[in-house]
Structure formats: structure tokens, C-alpha cells
């Protein structure tokens, strides 16, 4: 019996090479995209985790300030060190500095070599210049990558700069144990502290417990004793933070890959359906000869797997190649910029590979399910005589009623799903709603085809066209299949285009509000030199107005990425002049500390305007009022804005990192020259708002390039599905066409009829696709985006893009049906009529 199955599979593949190959390719495409995304992400995360481990070591606990401006006080270090469960405390100060004139911000890690030797051996220095002494004599050590990048030499002097602090010290050696690609500096913690602070403590305390200690219980006990400005976390929490940074992005990419896989499944569906239709006589014969009905079902499923298995295997190979190529050419950076220079090694593991193989086969199997069922229920004697029966015999009013109830249920469920919150930060309900919209679109195809063709049948059409319409009305299955393929692919395209366009429009408007000044100066998180700030105070600068901003970060949840803290010089009475609020703005009395939070904060922490909030500011627990929620497309994990006045009143140091500058009217050129000179002198970045805007939009466009590629793939697959099903439907009607031809219709008339039919089907598909697409776009924009990325935006349907795509698809569909018609009518009518099968 398996031999027979194998004969049939081989015969099928040999007789329909291109359709089979394309189905395999479609599956391969979906699998390869998914697998490549998985591999790149896994490699980048492993790389990041490895790098983090080498820099951080593997402590049992990390005690760190929740405010980037905070510190771990000295007394606490001693207290923790004396704890009997503690084997070792490793204090660390990490800061970002510049070396001399170079504008690159470099990580400088201040270590205590005695504890680092145990906990962070990768950071241990190697002396390379005997005259400079060792690390305890204040030498600076650079990783080999950094030495290469900046063209530095061991033994040379270096000037380490942060804000107005400068430290002249020799580069005493390198960091041989550090992995290639890591650009950082290491020095003794005391020298770093003396030059760059923090004033009364260290930046972070890493703790190794005695073997056999219960780390979790120890952390929990200390968590209760720590002052409010500090939190204690496990090393794994840091890894989780990193994973969280890219999680939503990864899931979204994976969903897109899944979509590609689904379109592949659809193509298998179309191919297998036509295969079943074309071989209905053969299967009927085998049934008569005694092939069990179960085998008629299984045979089609086998064929699905036979497409899915090589397709998935090819997909895995392609995915691997794609991942290797991507990491070689672009690197493994996910956009965080942490290890931009690193090239993670792609390591394929058995289990995920197997998972994707199963996924691919599953998709293919899913596509073969309905055709297999249809094959199973074909009435044998009838099929043997008259060929494929499109209407399954059970298609009684009862099932139609059931279907209607199901559709109504879906319609009712979708709005509910869109209102459900994210699960574990993932918009799963949103994704489910999207799937249901697509199901709804496909399920509406039969009704829509019947309506469209029914309406056509009532009009006075030329005879061949009427015959074509009549034909579809009588045997609508192929038309429905062709239409649903278009519905899915066009819906996906429309939704993506809509989502991207909405986002881009919103981003464009947002940039207007957040870039009010013509010029900006920034220093990548380092404080700006005081010299420069002083120069701006002098009379005679070409600026009429300068606004200063300081950036920091707050850790509100140890397992989430930290939230940006923006200290800004803004008018407390009118914060709306600088922040793009998306809701009401509260005016609070002076003395009440007010913060304005970004939409991401609202989304993640469930904040509302007017509510009070406790923030770990400056090592203390400070109660603040939420004065409003503003839109922020720059910081996905949330941002909190506070006025510089409030911040200073709390005792914070306003270390300016960013400047917005307005030149005197008429002295724009002088301003430009002034800024260029200062930027060069201090190694900082100067940009005009137009440049920032252009750069932002180009980054945006680049990051959505993958989406566009997937859209194109979906569209192509949809069109190919249309062509396959149309060709099959025409092929199934070869005898009818031949009869018509024998009755006197000429070939052109017949071709026109088929093209007309194709166009009508395409129109139905496009109309439903457009409707579902806009619905999906709305869900993406209003549910998925806010939940996954914490970005809100108004819906914007880009008709100028959607309509041309629709038109092109319509034309392509007509072309496909014309091709099918030509093939069918190319055979001599007499031959077709004579041929019994």
C-alpha cells in the first residue's frame, strides 16, 4: 500500500513539476524566514549574554541604584561583605567616556582587581608598559578591539574625558581575556571614582555567595533591607532585560514569517485542491478497485507532507544561509547598538531546527487537509463517470446554517479580542483577532462570489460571458479558492501598508513637535563640557534661545529595561509647548513634583494623568504626580520627563547632555559655523532638525524594508495561487469549453469569457481583501503596536498605494486567467470531446 502511495506521489510530482516546486518554495520561504530570524536572534542574544557574562561575571546578586544618577553607598559595601553567606563582593563603576578628541563614547569599567580576579576574569588586565606600573598604580587598559578602533598604542598617554572631568593616564596594557569585538576600557575602581564619581560609593555591587547558599532567599532578605534607591537582582534578570529589549521585535518578525508560512500553506491548498480535482477519476478508479476510503484521505495528506518535508528542509538550509549572510554583512545587532561591531556565530541546534521542520510540514499538511477531505468524500461511481464533484454531498442547508452562526460568532468575538490586554507583554489576543479577520474574509468568499456572480447573471451579458458566470454559480469551489487566496494576500499587504503608513505619518507629525529648534547639540549620554555651556552664556553668541536637557535612566522593574529620565528646561505651566501630549495636561501647584510620562509608561505601568507615583529618584523614594501622557516614538521602554527646576529642588545635579538652540534671525550661517567649531573642539555631535528628521525617517524606512519584502512575497504567492486555481478550474471545464467551441464559439470569445471570469473573481478577492486588510491594519495600529511596542498612532489608509496595488493585482489576475484560457482552448476541440478522460 505504501508502494502505491509512493507511485502516486511520484506520478503527481512528475506531472505537475512547477506547481509542486512552487508550493515547496513557498513553504521553504516561510520556514527560511522564520528560521533565519530565530538563528540571528538566538546568536545575537547568546553573543550578548556571553559578552555580558564576561563583563559582568556570574554573580549571585547584583545591587545597583535604580536611578542612573545614584550609587551604592560605601557603608553598604562593608555591611554586605561582612555577611557570612558572602564569599566575595565585587564593586564596579561603569561610565561612558571619550578618549581625547575622539567623539566615540567608550565604556570605562572601574574594577577592584582582587574581586574581579574571581568574578570577572575576562576583565583582568595585562601589563604591557613596565614604566606605567600596574592597574593599582592608575593605569588604563584597553581591549584589543578598542586599541584597533582608535589606533591607540600600549604605553602611550591618554586623556579620558567625561563632562568637565579629565584624567591623564598612560595606557598601561590591554585586556587579553576579552572577546574580540568588545570595545571597552578598564581601570582601577578608585581612579575611576576619583575622576568621574560617583561621589560616595560605587556604581554597582556584584556579590558571589558561599557555595551552598540559597541565593534567592538571600536576595529576598536583602531586598527588604536595602534603601529605596537600590534594587537587588539576579544576574539572570539582566539577561532577561536584554531579551526583553528585542522580544516584541522578534515576536513581530516571527509573526510575519508565520504569515509567509501561511501563504505557503495556502499555496499547498490550491495545488492539492486542483490535484485532487484533476485526479478525481483516478482516485475514483482506485476506490472502485478497492483502495480504502481512509487511504484516499491519507494519500492527499501524504502528498502534503511530501511537499512540506523537502520544502521545510530547503527552508532550513536557506534560513541558515540567510542568517550566516546577514550576520556577516550586517552583524547581529538588533538595533540596540550595544554590540554593533560583533559578528555572532550562527550555531544551528537540533531542537529549534526540528521545530521549524515540523512547522513547515504542519503548514503544508494544513493546506492539504481540505483537499484530502474532499477527496475522501467523492462519490466513486459518479466521479468515475463525470469527474470531480465540487459540491460535497453534505453541503445541506443545515451546515450552511451552522456556518452562518459561526461567522456571526467570529464577528462578535473580534471586538472582544481587540480589547483584551497583552499577555506577558505580547499582543496575543490582537494576533488572534487578526487571524479571525482573515478567517472571516475567507469565509465570506462563497457568499460574496455568489452575490457578485448572481448579480452578473441577472444582467444581459454576451452569451460566452453568461455561460462563464453561470458556470461559476453552479460550481463555485475553484472561484472561492482563487478568491480566498487573493483575500489573504491582499489583506496582509493592505494591512502592512496601512500600519507602516499610519506609523510614518504619525512619526512625521511627532518629529515636528519634538524638534522645535533648528539646531541640536548632543554628546551621546555624556555630560556636555562646562566650557561649552559657559561659552553659550557669553554675550555675542548667535543664539536667541538655548534649552538644556539632561538624560538618565531609572530602573523601575529589575526584569524590564530601564526607563529614560529626561530632565528638561520647560515651562511647568505649559509643558505642551515642548512635549506632544496625547491626552489632558494637568497643571499642578509649584512644590508638587510633576512628571510627564510617555505613552509606553502608560501602557506598561498603567499610569493615568493625575495619579501619584513613587519614583526611585536620587537614591530616595519620591512621590510625584503624573501631569500628562505624551507621545514618544524614540524610547520604546518608556520615558519620564521632569522639569529641571523640580529636579534641582530635589537635589539632583543637572548635568546637561543635550542642547536645543535657536539662532538669531538672520544669523543662521554664523550659528552653523559657531556650532561646527564647538562640535569639532569638544568631540560632540551637532545636527540640524532637518537632518535629524531625515535620518529618523530613513531609519524608519530601513527597518520596515523586511516588511515590504514580505508583502511582496505574500502578493506573489497570492497571485500564483490565483493562477493555479484559475488554470485548474478552466482545465476542469475543458470539455465544456470544447463543446462550446464545437457549437460555434470562437477561441477569442472563449478566452474573453475566461478572462472575464478571472477578473470577476479577482475583484471579489480584492474587495474582501481590502476590507479585511483595513480591519487588520486597524488592529495592528490600535492593538498590536501599543501592546507590543507601546506606540500609539492614528489610522491612516494610504489609498495612493493601496489602489495601484489592487489594480496591478487585478491585471495580473486577468493575465493569469488569459494564460489558463489559452492553454485550455489550445487543444483541438474534437480531441477533447473524444477523450473520455
Amino acid at each position: 500500500m505504501t508502494r502505491l502511495a509512493w507511485w502516486l506521489i511520484r506520478a503527481q510530482f512528475l506531472s505537475r513539476r512547477s506547481a509542486t516546486a512552487l508550493s515547496m518554495l513557498a513553504i521553504a520561504l516561510g520556514v527560511s524566514l522564520g528560521y533565519a530570524i530565530h538563528l540571528i536572534n538566538a546568536a545575537a542574544l547568546a553573543d550578548f549574554a556571553h559578552a555580558m557574562k564576561s563583563v559582568q561575571g556570574e554573580p549571585d546578586a547584583i545591587i545597583a541604584p535604580r536611578d542612573s544618577a545614584g550609587h551604592v553607598p560605601r557603608a553598604l559595601i562593608d555591611e554586605i561583605a561582612r555577611d557570612e553567606s558572602v564569599a566575595l563582593v565585587a564593586p564596579v563603576i561603569e561610565t561612558r567616556v571619550r578618549l581625547g578628541r575622539d567623539s566615540t563614547a567608550v565604556r570605562l569599567i572601574g574594577i577592584d582587581v582582587f574581586s574581579a580576579a574571581v568574578l570577572m576574569p575576562s576583565l583582568l588586565p595585562r601589563d604591557g608598559a613596565p614604566a606605567s606600573g600596574g592597574i593599582l598604580d592608575g593605569g588604563l587598559y584597553a581591549s584589543p578591539t578598542l586599541l584597533d578602533n582608535l589606533g591607540l598604542k600600549v604605553g602611550a598617554g591618554a586623556t579620558v574625558i567625561r563632562g568637565e572631568s579629565r584624567w591623564e593616564t598612560p595606557i598601561a596594557g590591554d585586556l587579553p581575556a576579552l572577546a574580540a569585538g568588545e570595545a571597552l576600557l578598564v581601570a582601577d575602581i578608585a581612579w575611576v571614582q576619583a575622576h568621574f564619581g560617583p561621589h560616595a560609593g560605587v556604581g554597582e555591587l556584584r556579590v558571589r555567595l558561599m557555595p551552598g547558599s540559597r541565593a534567592e532567599a538571600w536576595r529576598a532578605a536583602w531586598a527588604k533591607r536595602l534603601p529605596p534607591g537600590l534594587d537587588i537582582r539576579a544576574a539572570a534578570d539582566n539577561a532577561a532585560r536584554i531579551a526583553n529589549i528585542s522580544r516584541a521585535y522578534r515576536v513581530n518578525l516571527n509573526v510575519l514569517a508565520l504569515v509567509a508560512l501561511l501563504t505557503g500553506a495556502f499555496l499547498v491548498f490550491a495545488t492539492q485542491l486542483t490535484a485532487v480535482a484533476q485526479r478525481s477519476t483516478q482516485f475514483a478508479l482506485l476506490g472502485v478497485l478497492g483502495l480504502p476510503p481512509r487511504m484516499r484521505l491519507l494519500q492527499v495528506l501524504f502528498e502534503g507532507v511530501a511537499i512540506g518535508l523537502p520544502g521545510s528542509a530547503l527552508g532550513l538550509t536557506l534560513g541558515y544561509a540567510l542568517a550566516v549572510m546577514f550576520t556577516r554583512v550586517i552583524g547581529g545587532d538588533l538595533g540596540g547598538g550595544f554590540f554593533a561591531a560583533s559578528t555572532p556565530t550562527i550555531v544551528p541546534e537540533l531542537l529549534p531546527g526540528l521545530g521549524f521542520l515540523i512547522l513547515g510540514c504542519g503548514a503544508s499538511l494544513m493546506g492539504a487537509l481540505y483537499p484530502a477531505w474532499l477527496n475522501r468524500i467523492q462519490p466513486l461511481a459518479q466521479a468515475l463517470k463525470t469527474g470531480f464533484a465540487q459540491r460535497p454531498p453534505g453541503d445541506a442547508p443545515r451546515t450552511l446554517h451552522g456556518r452562518r452562526v459561526m461567522l456571526l460568532a467570529i464577528v462578535a468575538v473580534i471586538p472582544v479580542l481587540t480589547r483584551l490586554p497583552a499577555i506577558d507583554d505580547l499582543p496575543l489576543a490582537g494576533y488572534a483577532a487578526i487571524a479571525l479577520v482573515l478567517v472571516l474574509g475567507i469565509a465570506a468568499a462563497p457568499v460574496a462570489t455568489r452575490l457578485a456572480f448572481g448579480a452578473m447573471a441577472r444582467t444581459t451579458l454576451p452569451a460566452p460571458l453568461r455561460i462563464a458566470v453561470q458556470n461559476v454559480l453552479q460550481a463555485p469551489l475553484m472561484a472561492q479558492v482563487a478568491a480566498s487566496g487573493l483575500i489573504v494576500s491582499f489583506a496582509l499587504t493592505v494591512s502592512m501598508v496601512t500600519m507602516v503608513a499610519s506609523f510614518r505619518t504619525a512619526l512625521d507629525q511627532w518629529l515636528d513637535t519634538v524638534l522645535p529648534a533648528p539646531h541640536y547639540l548632543r554628546s551621546k549620554g555624556l555630560p556636555l563640557p562646562r566650557e561649552l555651556l559657559a561659552a553659550l552664556e557669553l554675550p555675542g553668541t548667535p543664539f536667541v534661545r538655548v534649552e538644556r536637557m539632561a538624560t538618565g535612566s531609572l530602573s523601575l522593574d529589575p526584569r524590564r529595561p530601564p526607563v529614560a529620565l529626561l530632565v528638561r528646561e520647560l515651562d511647568r505651566a505649559d509643558p505642551g509647548a515642548r512635549l506632544p501630549f496625547s491626552g489632558p495636561v494637568l497643571t499642578t501647584p509649584n512644590g508638587e513634583i510633576t512628571v510627564w510620562v510617555s505613552e509606553a509608561m502608560q501602557e506598561v505601568h498603567g499610569l493615568r494623568t493625575g495619579q501619584t507615583l513613587h519614583l526611585p529618584l536620587l537614591g530616595r523614594d519620591i512621590e510625584v504626580v503624573v501631569g500628562g501622557v505624551w507621545r514618544d516614538y524614540a524610547r520604546q521602554f518608556g520615558a519620564i520627563a521632569i522639569s529641571a527646576t523640580d529636579y534641582r529642588e530635589l537635589g539632583g545635579r543637572f548635568e546637561v547632555t543635550d542642547l536645543a538652540l535657536w539662532p538669531h534671525p538672520g544669523s543662521e550661517d554664523a550659528a552653523r559655523r559657531w556650532l561646527a567649531a564647538e562640535a569639532a573642539r569638544h568631540g560632540i555631535e551637532s545636527a540640524e532638525s532637518a537632518d535629524i528628521r531625515r535620518l529618523s525617517l530613513s531609519i524608519f524606512d530601513k527597518s520596515f524594508a523586511v516588511t515590504y519584502a514580505l508583502e511582496a512575497a505574500a502578493m506573489l504567492i497570492g497571485l500564483f495561487g490565483l493562477a493555479v486555481t484559475l488554470a485548474a478550474s478552466v482545465w476542469l471545464r475543458a470539455r465544456e469549453l470544447a463543446t462550446l467551441s464545437a457549437l460555434g464559439f470562437d477561441r477569442a470569445m472563449l478566452a474573453r469569457a475566461v478572462v472575464f471570469e478571472g477578473a470577476l473573481i479577482a475583484l471579489v478577492g480584492l474587495a474582501l481583501g481590502l476590507a479585511s486588510g483595513i480591519a487588520v491594519g486597524a488592529i495592528l495600529t490600535h492593538v498590536v503596536n501599543p501592546q507590543a511596542f507601546h506606540w500609539r498612532m492614528p489610522l491612516h489608509v494610504p489609498w495612493t498605494q493601496v489602489l495601484p496595488i489592487a489594480l496591478a493585482t487585478l491585471l495580473a489576475g486577468m493575465l493569469a486567467s488569459r494564460f489558463a484560457a489559452r492553454q485550455a482552448t489550445a487543444l483541438p476541440a474534437a480531441h477533447v470531446l473524444a477523450g473520455a478522460q
Binding site: 500500500m1 507511485w7 483516478q282 482506485l286 472502485v288 478497485l289 478497492g290 473520455a836 478522460q837
Partner: protein
């Protein structure tokens, strides 16, 4: 080989039954022709016997240990068909995507015969239907007569108890038709199977042992014209060109008409 008792069938929506209380039997080595006007229900009767259509009443027993086709489920009916029945169709129905040998081997596969025997059995049948050496050929390159010989080989390869043939010579020219028919009868008798041949051709009917005529009122039995010769040793002459006298029916196994 075949025994039908009390068979009745009415198409849904039809006013009167197509047939009812039919009774017929086909003995070992016996070839029975089923004739009748178009639409009288010959094909339906055949389909009911093959278990492709469900009769409304009656029993259909096929084979030595007399399994009732009527009482089995679809899968079991398929298995019974595969084991006990060989089919020959007017339209040949040779699978175009399998070679001649593969086509003939299909019933062996369906019966899970040991693969080692396939080649030999297929070869010997090919020889006996006069197609020695045709095994690797593709059906598209064969003539109608050759295709029907392939179909006959396929119908016999698993030594079924019953051969059901529906206008086996309908698509053939007279000369080829004679050859093919002679071959079919010879092989059926050789294998001691029973055969029921639906035909419009008087000539074909007269080659059979008995002729059953299906009318709206039931089955009528007749013996073919010509001198009756007892015994089963008389077979049609394959190359005689003339209708030969069918053998006398087997002892006590003649069909009866029951109203």
C-alpha cells in the same frame, strides 16, 4: 461466486423503485450477460453489487465464504472489492501516470500480496493477455485494444471470485472487440471466476453462458441462441471471428426471475 437475493433500489425522489426483489446468481466459471434498455438500472445494479451504491434492501454475497456486501461498512466494502472483484470498464480506466506493469500490480498492492510475487504474476498475466514485454510501457502509447487487455489483466491478477464488466468492448472496433471479449471469457473460465458483463451488444451477450435482461419489471433469464453444448470445456474461439456457442449453464446455478 455471486448470489443476490431480494435486491431493491429506489433513487431518492423517484416515484417507483428502479428495481425490487431481484434475485440472481453467477456460478464458478460462469459468464453471465446483463442486458437491458438505457436507464433501466443496469449500471446501478452493477454498482450495488460492487458496493459503490447502497441498495435499499436485499443481500449480496460474493465469493466462496459468501460475505454480504450489503452489511459491510465502506472500508470493508473496499477491502472486499479489492479481494474478490475484478473490474473491466468501457473507458478502460488505465491510470495514465503508472506503467502497464504498475497498473496491473495495483490490485496486488491493495491486497498486500507479497511484493516478491508481483513481478512474476504480472508477467505471466501480460503473456496470457498477449502483451508480453509491455510491462514498462506508458499507457498513453497503447491502443484501445491493448489498454483493455491491460485492464483485463488488472481485473484478473489477484484471482478475484467475480469479474464485473461494464460494456468492456464498447470503445473498440469490432475485430478488436472480438479478440478482447474472447480473451476475457477465456481467462474468466480459466480462473474459475464468475463474470457479470453489462452490455448492449447482442453479439457479446450471445458469447455468454446466460443472458439476464433487466426490465422495469425485473430480470428475465434466457440462454443464448445456438446449439447448447453441455460442459464447460467449450470456450469461444479467440480467432474464430464468429460467435461461438456458449457453454451450458452450470448445474442448478441458473438465474431465476423472481418478480
Amino acid at each position: 461466486m455471486l448470489s443476490v437475493v431480494g435486491l431493491g433500489k429506489r433513487h431518492s425522489g423517484a416515484l417507483r423503485p428502479l428495481f425490487s426483489e431481484l434475485r440472481l446468481a453467477v456460478g464458478s466459471g460462469e459468464v453471465v450477460a446483463l442486458v437491458g434498455e438505457s436507464g433501466v438500472g443496469k449500471s446501478t445494479l452493477l454498482n450495488c453489487i460492487a458496493g459503490l451504491e447502497q441498495a435499499d434492501s436485499g443481500e449480496i454475497r460474493i465469493g466462496p465464504d459468501a460475505l454480504d456486501m450489503h452489511r459491510l461498512d465502506e472500508t470493508a466494502r473496499a477491502a472486499l472489492r479489492a479481494a474478490r472483484i475484478g473490474f473491466v470498464f468501457q473507458a478502460f480506466h488505465v491510470l495514465p501516470t503508472l506503467t502497464v506493469a504498475q497498473n496491473i500490480a495495483v490490485p496486488l498492492l491493495l491486497n498486500r500480496a507479497p511484493p516478491a510475487e508481483h513481478g512474476e504474476r504480472v508477467e505471466s498475466l501480460l503473456r496470457r493477455v498477449g502483451l508480453a514485454g509491455f510491462g514498462p510501457r506508458w499507457p498513453a502509447l497503447l491502443s484501445g485494444g491493448e489498454l483493455q487487455r491491460v485492464a483485463i489483466a488488472r481485473a484478473l491478477v489477484h484471482r478475484p471470485a467475480l469479474i464485473l464488466a461494464d460494456e468492456p468492448t464498447g470503445n473498440l472496433d469490432p475485430r478488436t472487440a472480438d479478440e478482447v471479449l474472447a480473451l476475457l471469457l477465456e481467462r474468466v473460465r480459466e480462473q474459475q471466476a464468475g463474470a457479470l458483463i453489462v452490455t448492449h451488444s447482442r453479439h457479446v451477450a450471445e458469447c455468454c453462458d446466460r443472458i439476464l435482461t433487466l426490465t422495469p419489471d425485473g430480470l428475465e433469464c434466457a440462454h443464448p441462441a445456438g446449439p447448447s453444448q453441455g460442459g464447460r470445456s467449450h470456450h469461444p474461439e479467440p480467432h474464430g471471428g464468429e460467435p461461438t456457442s456458449p457453454p451450458a449453464l452450470g448445474r442448478g446455478l441458473g438465474g431465476r426471475v423472481v418478480q
